[in-house]
């Protein structure tokens, strides 16, 4: 194996090692954020009930400002939870950035040696190793998928409306829909013996 191919393959391997580690991290961070999403949903349900208490309830006569006060408290709590989710988002961004860096570094290594490698070497695969071109493409796919997921979550948080009950109730489903990331990365790294 010539020097250029060796270097490119080595870089790709280390990139995949990092990607795998970062995926584990992503999963951990994401699992940890579940509790915040759950309490946000829960709080939104409470807020909804607070809004929908019949005005003529005798109980409220003794506490005329109770509704406003409870609302303020609930919104404060929701704000706290959303803050936690924003922190989560920052950690996810780090993961995404780290994967992007790996992709960029691999592309850079490949481009420096592209002339020397030649198209034949780039697309050549063996029984144990995929071709350089495949590995680069998969890495690019992973990078894009992770970035997209991150942006989806960011959008979700940016468009959050605390008093929109229906939106809040679907938050949990929309926040957790990244299970295909797992299968995708697992499927790809399966081909690569790390």
């Amino acid at each position: 194996m010539m020097q250029a191919e060796l270097l490119t393959r080595r870089q790709l391997k280390s990139a995949y090692v990092t990607v795998e580690k970062q995926t584990v991290r992503w999963k951990e961070i994401h699992q940890n954020s579940d509790q915040y999403v759950n309490s946000l949903c829960n709080l939104s349900e409470q807020l909804d009930s607070c809004e929908r208490v019949p005005e003529k309830t005798t109980f409220l006569k003794d506490f005329p400002d109770l509704k406003i006060r409870l609302r303020a408290k609930l919104l404060g709590e929701m704000e706290k939870m959303a803050g936690k989710l924003r922190e989560t988002l920052c950690s996810l961004q780090e993961v995404s950035n780290s994967i992007s860096r790996q992709y960029a570094a691999s592309m850079h290594t490949y481009q420096t040696h592209a002339g020397e490698l030649g198209i034949h070497k780039v697309v050549q695969r063996s029984a144990t190793e995929p071709s350089v071109a495949d590995m680069l493409e998969w890495l690019g796919d992973i990078d894009r998928a992770v970035r997209e997921l991150y942006l989806q979550k960011q959008f979700l948080l940016d468009t959050l409306k605390y008093d929109d009950t229906r939106q809040m109730q679907s938050l949990h489903r929309r926040w957790t829909q990244d299970s295909n990331l797992d299968t995708m990365i697992m499927g790809m790294s399966y081909h690569i013996i790390l």
Partner: protein, 241 residues
């Protein structure tokens, strides 16, 4: 203030007083003012310091009770909701089957078991409320204690003028009293709300009202966010933090 003239300070110290419990996870204490020597405080300052520690402990205990009360009130709401649902289901079965009397009997037994469970929860909630009421009594006593100290100081400063009325770093005793009054007012309003909740929660059948009551218990709407600031500044001022 001269030490000999403050007769109250030499009285017996209460056991509950002292430093705040270790259980709270406070941030590392800020830099203490070097000008205050906490070992050599005037008796009045020592008393005020104890009162601040007592406030801290009482509020901690209140929070524990509040959490347990909240879980009980949630149980009550769940209990009521499943009860309502099973009643609805029972009505449907009665309508559907011709043998209505057997279903009716089953439902009655169900409701009976439910009401016993519900009663147990309600008793728990009332007990929690009573424990909170006791805490509030203690809080009021602390406020009275500070009021007494303040009056004593006024009396003394009438006798010998020009004495500094600042006990620790910046607060005069009047300020301690005002903070204490504000805190106990918050807690007394909250307690009133708790009383209302504990009396009402089991007698409602509307889902939203019940949820509203349960979340009112949990979030303590009458205790402002300011209360935390008040307590913390009192602790910082007296050198506990």
């Amino acid at each position: 203030m001269s030490e000999s003239s403050s007769g109250k300070g030499s009285g017996k110290r209460r056991k509950s007083s002292g430093t705040p419990r270790k259980s709270d996870s406070s941030s590392p204490s800020p830099v203490k003012s070097p000008s205050v020597n906490y070992a050599k405080l005037s008796p009045m300052a020592k008393k005020v310091r104890d009162v601040a520690a007592d406030w801290h402990n009482l509020i901690q205990r209140w929070e524990v009770l509040n959490a347990s009360g909240a879980s009980v009130s949630n149980k009550i709401v769940n209990c009521k909701l499943t009860n309502i649902e099973s009643q609805d289901a029972a009505v449907v079965t009665v309508e559907q089957t011709s043998a209505g009397f057997t279903a009716g009997a089953g439902e009655a037994a169900d409701a009976d078991g439910m009401s016993k469970e519900l009663e147990g929860f309600c008793n728990q909630l009332t007990d929690t409320y009573n424990a909170m009421a006791k805490l509030l009594e203690k809080m009021k006593k602390l406020t009275l204690n500070l009021k007494g100290q303040w009056e004593l100081q006024q009396y003394q400063s009438n006798k010998d003028e020009g004495e500094s009325s600042i006990l620790f770093q910046t607060w005069p005793i009047q300020h301690f009293y005002e903070v204490s009054v504000e805190l106990s007012e918050m807690y007394s309003r909250e307690l009133k709300l708790k009383q209302g909740i504990s009396e009402n929660i089991a007698h409602r059948s509307d889902r939203h009202t019940m949820m509203f009551l349960a979340s009112s218990w949990l979030h303590q709407p009458y205790i402002d966010n300011r209360s935390e600031l008040l307590l913390e500044s009192m602790l910082v001022e007296t050198g506990h933090r």
